[in-house]
């Protein structure tokens, strides 16, 4: 464990660690643009230069490994003079368009200009103007805002592996570009926007939508596949505007796939089911939620009263949170102790998409082929509840005795797209069916009761990803008018007091759910910091 001194503070470092990373780990603030812990080190921005005793010149902190007994001066007059010079140099051709730039508020250049720069420009000549470019399906490049840190270039080479971006030209005419006819269209392309320290690479989807300082963040998990990528939902006034990655070293590191990034659109989808329906004389009519719930409970009770034990089933969707699956399972088992629990269709049989570093061939990111987030978690809940269970394939085949007996049940959807298979199980084709879903399907038009449900961003709970990690997620917004969270509906049906609370339910579910911790949201920064100019 080498020990180094930074500005009179002694810190323990890992052997071979760079000075900058060691300082960041110990809460010592140092400016940097080109350094990113997930990418290779190029030391091109030069703002992290520090003085090291015994070395006559300044050295880049991001590229200098620590040595036992090293004495570093990060805020000596020489280092500060360098920071000021680098800032002035970077701002020479940078347009002063912060008010219309989407990065403003989370821009390194803006922050460092306050902290390390000077308040005025000595540059009197005309600024270089470079055109803005459309580099890919999701990304827009504003070349005149670029500071040539080359993070995006390294990302496309080392993480997504396509190498679509490159540095064109030299010196003052240097700029980021794509090769002719080869746009940045891989499934990780959105990440270059996140790693860009300035507003040079912007997301077309978020462009001009909202200013970043107005957004609030809820820690969540990706709903698109079983990878369980950790994300932040950025929302304001009940609307989600974008999704940003949340660092988790063991799951997604700093990156998320584009499917995850744009999955928030389902929340405000105009097709969302918002009207509860009930069947009357063979056709569905509009009804209130309470009336629909009454009819659902009454209908299921009648099925149990007329049939024998085991005539009820519940299709638990792999989009449900574990807590919700637990509550619905309990409700069905209360009505009928032998109720059959079925895991809904696990979509996506495709192969995993693997991304490799184009230089070393090492695997860097995987997009899972299983396109539901919680198949493992719901299976675990079903095991915990015990009793008769079946997979959806067995339910479709219908040759098991338990499967043949069903007369009515509860079906949960909640998928991000159409999920109803062409060959419906015999049990789901007739009988008394209650359906909870967020998008309209063929099945929803034929069932006895339709209950509008909530999307994942509107409720809390936990999901188990393909590695078997149980990850809790927070709610960001409230469901649209007419919809109710699944958890609240089950609490109501079970006759329990209060609203659905993920952590409370997890406690009664026992291990391993009990020990799932709520996600750690980003630390709140001070709302205003007064800067003396």
């Amino acid at each position: 464990m080498p020990k180094i001194m930074v500005d009179g503070k002694s810190i323990d470092c890992k052997p071979g660690q760079m000075i900058l990373q060691a300082c960041l780990d110990h809460g010592i603030v140092m400016p940097y643009y080109c350094y990113h812990p997930g990418l290779s080190i190029v030391a091109s921005c030069r703002i992290c230069l520090v003085e090291v005793e015994g070395i006559p010149k300044l050295v880049p902190a991001c590229q200098t490994p620590v040595r036992e007994g090293m004495v570093v001066h990060a805020s000596s007059s020489k280092a500060i003079a360098n920071q000021k010079a680098v800032m002035e140099y970077l701002l020479i051709n940078h347009p002063l368009d912060c008010p219309v730039c989407d990065q403003a508020g989370e821009c390194y250049l803006q922050d460092y200009s306050y902290q390390y720069g000077r308040s005025e420009s000595r540059f009197e000549e005309e600024k270089h103007k470079k055109p803005k470019k459309d580099v890919g399906q999701h990304v827009l490049l504003y070349n005149d805002r670029c500071i040539m840190c080359s993070r995006c270039v390294r990302f496309t080479r080392e993480i997504s592996g396509g190498g679509e971006l490159y540095v064109q030209g030299r010196g003052a005419r240097e700029e980021i570009d794509i090769f002719p006819g080869r746009p940045l269209d891989n499934k990780l392309s959105g990440n270059v926007v996140d790693i860009c320290p300035v507003g040079a690479l912007l997301d077309k989807d978020f462009l001009f939508k909202q200013r970043v300082w107005l957004l609030k963040q809820a820690a969540s998990v990706s709903p698109v596949d079983s990878g369980g990528e950790n994300i932040y939902l950025d929302y304001n006034e009940g609307v989600i505007y974008r999704i940003k990655p949340r660092y988790n070293g063991e799951v997604n590191q700093w990156w998320i796939s584009d499917d995850t990034r744009y999955s928030y659109k389902i929340v405000r989808d105009p097709r969302r089911v918002v009207q509860p329906m009930r069947m009357q004389y063979g056709s569905q009519i509009e009804t209130t939620y309470d009336r629909a719930l009454e009819m659902a409970a009454g209908g299921l009770q009648q099925v149990v009263a007329t049939g024998k034990a085991g005539s009820l089933y519940a299709v638990l969707s792999p989009m449900m949170a574990c807590e919700e699956a637990w509550l619905l399972g309990q409700y069905m088992r209360r009505l009928d102790p032998k109720a059959l629990l079925v895991l809904g269709p696990v979509l996506g049989k495709g192969e995993d998409e693997v991304f490799c570093n184009s230089l070393t061939g090492k695997q860097t990111f995987v997009i899972k082929g299983e396109k539901v987030p919680n198949a493992k978690g719901v299976r675990r809940v079903m095991e915990k509840l015990g009793g008769p269970t079946a997979t959806f394939e067995e339910f479709v085949k219908g040759d098991r005795a338990e499967v043949k007996e069903v007369k009515g049940g509860w079906i949960v959807g909640g998928y991000l797209g159409d999920w109803v298979p062409k060959d419906l199980p015999a049990g789901m084709k007739k009988g008394f069916r209650v359906m909870q879903d967020i998008l309209p399907t063929v099945l929803a038009g034929a069932v006895e009761v339709v209950l509008p449900g909530a999307a994942w961003a509107e409720k809390e709970g936990c999901w188990e990803n393909h590695q078997g990690r149980l990850q809790a997620f927070e709610a960001a917004v409230v469901p649209p008018v007419g919809c109710r969270r699944e958890g609240d509906v089950y609490m109501n049906l079970l006759g329990r007091a209060g609203l659905y609370n993920g952590a409370g339910i997890r406690k009664e579910m026992g291990e391993p759910f009990e020990s799932v911790r709520a996600p750690v949201a980003r630390e709140e920064e001070a709302a205003f910091e007064f800067v003396e100019l």
Partner: protein
């Protein structure tokens, strides 16, 4: 919505004297009577609005200086007659009453990146503090000296982009930028 976003408000507690109401009623009545006698003796004056207006009376005699008065907003236009606003949201960020709602879009002009597709100010919610004017980096939003705006419905008092630009045309002669 998270628990941290919920604010719980407590009703103010009344003292024992306040709970009887009568003493507080007498205090209020006293104020009314005081002003009645002051008007009768000529110490207070009643302005016969709208025949008589405060801006026509000298400030020392109870009038007001219209030049520093903060009235209804206007959106300024540039030389080409285009809206000057670049939809940077600075005004709506600075607004303590949250009465400015902007929807930004890509501008149809080459010299500008962004412009407001929609720009609504709720004039009933506004407290006329002038923070929006202070925050604007391009001097696009200004408060005029107009105060006698009326509307028959609340909806009419939500001024949209067209109405705010019309306000500019109406006041630009009297109050140049």
């Amino acid at each position: 919505m998270k628990d941290t976003e919920i604010i719980e408000l407590q009703e103010p507690r009344l003292s024992v004297a306040d709970q009887f109401y009568v003493p507080q009623m007498l205090v209020g009545m006293g104020t009314t009577l005081k002003h009645m006698f002051m008007t009768l003796t000529g110490k207070d004056r009643v302005i016969q609005y709208p025949e008589e207006k405060r801006e026509d009376i000298p400030v020392v005699e109870g009038g007001m200086n219209l030049r520093t008065y903060r009235g209804v907003h206007r959106l300024n236009k540039d030389e080409g007659g285009r809206v000057k606003c670049v939809a940077c949201f600075m005004c709506s960020t600075a607004c303590p009453a949250h009465c400015i709602h902007i929807e930004a879009g890509e501008s149809p002009w080459a010299d500008r990146e962004k412009y407001p597709i929609q720009f609504d100010i709720d004039e009933l919610r506004c407290i006329y503090c002038g923070m929006c004017e202070e925050a604007c980096p391009v001097d696009a939003i200004e408060l005029t000296h107009e105060y006698d705006i009326v509307g028959l419905t609340r909806q009419e008092m939500i001024f949209d982009k067209e109405k705010l630009l019309k306000m500019y045309d109406q006041t630009v002669e009297k109050e140049p930028m």
